[in-house]
């Protein structure tokens, strides 16, 4: 099963290496990993998608915690969270197919960000599944190039009445 782990780590050289080395060591394949700055310049945020059983994901989570540079780890797989992926897709077009492609872009609420005589670049943000299906329908026109950012995730805000989840740093129950 795909697990989505959100890690806050110290923004220091070598930290990405420490994190990825932990997955390599256990022979887990990382599906996607994104790193980016956060509201705090001393902290970077990683969203890691990994294919693992629940037990293995727990073990990975705890080992991530053990790294000195890891501030917080959360498995948001089953939590209410906004999960987004962004794709840039360069599709072959000709005068016959262009309007059809633009039509699909509309349906999927994508954006055309570049137009050339024989291709267009489309930008699409959304859930992984939506992007997957968009790519599927574009295949018949011929995809020249494709890039995806990989998943990023953020837990949804809670109403004040909800009991806050135990701060991740205290999640010691097993």
């Amino acid at each position: 099963m795909k697990h989505v782990l959100v890690c806050k780590v110290e923004n220091k050289p070598g930290v990405l290496n420490r994190i990825s080395s932990l997955f390599r060591r256990r022979l887990y394949n990382i599906d996607s990993l994104t790193v980016s700055p956060t509201e705090n310049p001393a902290v970077s945020r990683m969203t890691i998608v990994v294919d693992a059983t629940r037990t293995d994901a727990r073990i990975v989570e705890r080992n991530l915690y053990k790294l000195v540079n890891t501030i917080e780890v959360k498995d948001v797989t089953d939590l209410p969270a906004v999960k987004r992926d962004l794709a840039l897709i360069k599709v072959h077009t000709n005068p016959d197919t262009r309007s059809e492609v633009l039509n699909l872009v509309d349906i999927f609420r994508g954006k055309v960000v570049d137009v050339a005589p024989s291709s267009v670049i489309i930008e699409l943000t959304g859930e992984v599944k939506k992007i997957d299906s968009f790519i599927e329908v574009l295949k018949e026109f011929g995809i020249a190039e494709l890039v995806r950012t990989g998943l990023v995730a953020m837990e949804r805000g809670r109403s004040d009445k909800e009991v806050p989840a135990v701060a991740a740093a205290q999640q010691v129950n097993i």
């Binding site: 070598g14 001393a42 053990k66 790294l67 000195v68 501030i71 740093a169 205290q170 129950n173």
Partner: protein
Amino acid sequence: MQQTGAEILWECLLREGVDVVFGYPGGAILPAYDTMTQYDIRHVLVRHEQGATHAADGYARATGKAGVVVATSGPGATNLVTGLANAMMDSIPLIAITGQVAKGVIGSDAFQETDVTGVTLPVTKHNYIVTDVRELASTIREAFHIARTGRPGPVLVDIPKDVQLDRTGFHYPDDPIELPGYRPRTIVPKADFERAIELINGAQRPVVLAGHGIIMSGAVAELRGLVEKADIPVALTLLGIGGLPASHRLCAGMMGMHGEAAVNHAIQEADLLIALGMRFDDRVTGNLKTYAPGAHKIHIDIDPSELNKNVKVDVGIIGDVREVLRELLPHVEKADRSLWLARIDTWLAATRERDILHHDPQGKLWTAHVIVDLWKATAGNAIIVSDVGQHQMWEAQYYRHEEPRSLITSGGLGTMGFALPAAIGAKIGRPDAEVWVIAGDGGFQMTLGELGTVVQEKLPLRIAIINNGFLGMVRQWQEFFYERRYSATPLVNPDFCKLAEAYGIAAFRVDRREDVIPAALRAREVNGPALLNFVVESADSVYPMVPSGADLADMIRRPSQPKAQEVHE
């Protein structure tokens, strides 16, 4: 006053209470060596950097303090890898200081440049490269903090040569260390705590599994308090030996692959296992699927990632085992579990029948007999540093350790060559203790160059080589599991006595049982180091043995032999 990085390094070590470092110089660490002599720190020059890591490791295990290693860049630093991995596996607090090429040439394949933080990343608890002399002091301080606290481990600090020469004002911070991502945690949810007490008080056939954590956290008295009050038998891991005196009525002995048969039976029949500071290594559990099937399990460990890693537990408590035991003790009820203890005694009696101590030696010298005699000759009071292999297991079985930190051995990595250098560190850390090396002829030859260090440092070590002419433990596996095809296990050895004499070390050759104790007593009288070459029977195996991956109760047992007329024990 401005000081150089090199000076700051030694100032920091002094402030961390370091009085000895184990090291080997070279170009990239020369500035540090150049200023070293101005400081009141003993430097022990080893013969190979691996020896320095094991010496620092032995020092740490013997004293409970962090050991310190110094090495140069490139080959000096890569030679540390085995020793760091060894310390990492057994949670030993070490600080390794390595020189690095100057900042400006890092990444250019400069002479003796190696990406040391990269190479050592998986075998250290944490590592650093210091690129600004102003960060040196706080980094060293953090390194010691990380090495010593929580689950201890090795930390490496790589210092480019120019950083050692750069100057800055020296200030050793004394505020509490705040690392956003490093907070060794000890929060025990109340429910877990109560469930643990309920399980302990309700158990009929409990066994305490006491590990290395008991010794590291100094919980020997607390362990004793718990088991005496609740009348619970104790099984020890290899690294937990000494956690409860071998002579204690509740000490059942070692568990696992080469543990006491009675202990393994007790574990398999238990209705409760209370694991204290041990990590259910595969040498301890055998087949996980059939491990202690009828037992509830309580696991107390400081490292959250150990809980439910190998063995699913009913209650996991994260915390320092000493603190947790102190909290638990008042709630544990006094109990009498003599029925259960008597059952274990029956198993123990059956083991005694098969014990080689009761077998006729047939005129040969057997390692188990050597170990028992060394135990007698030292009155059971020595620190024994064992190497890896058959002799290590016989040591664990037959030397009866009464004190914590009296057995020093490489457990998790099983590093041959560990014993001699580790004993150097142990003797330096505990100069008043009698320190013995017990090593196989194979492992001894991996690091025998350290005899030079022993002599140079004038260390009166007692070195017992168990010379069976084989890589014995591998020979045993070949005998049991590879139809006696002894591929690459026979050894052609030097004359170890002559070798010792070349170093000016007194040496004794022993090949008869009756000479063991007299020779050991003579060796103890030598003013300086002494080496004993015990030429023992090679066709001998360590029993019992749980084959790798087998059920813990499926032990290969020593074949019964007719009892000797004249019992030697």
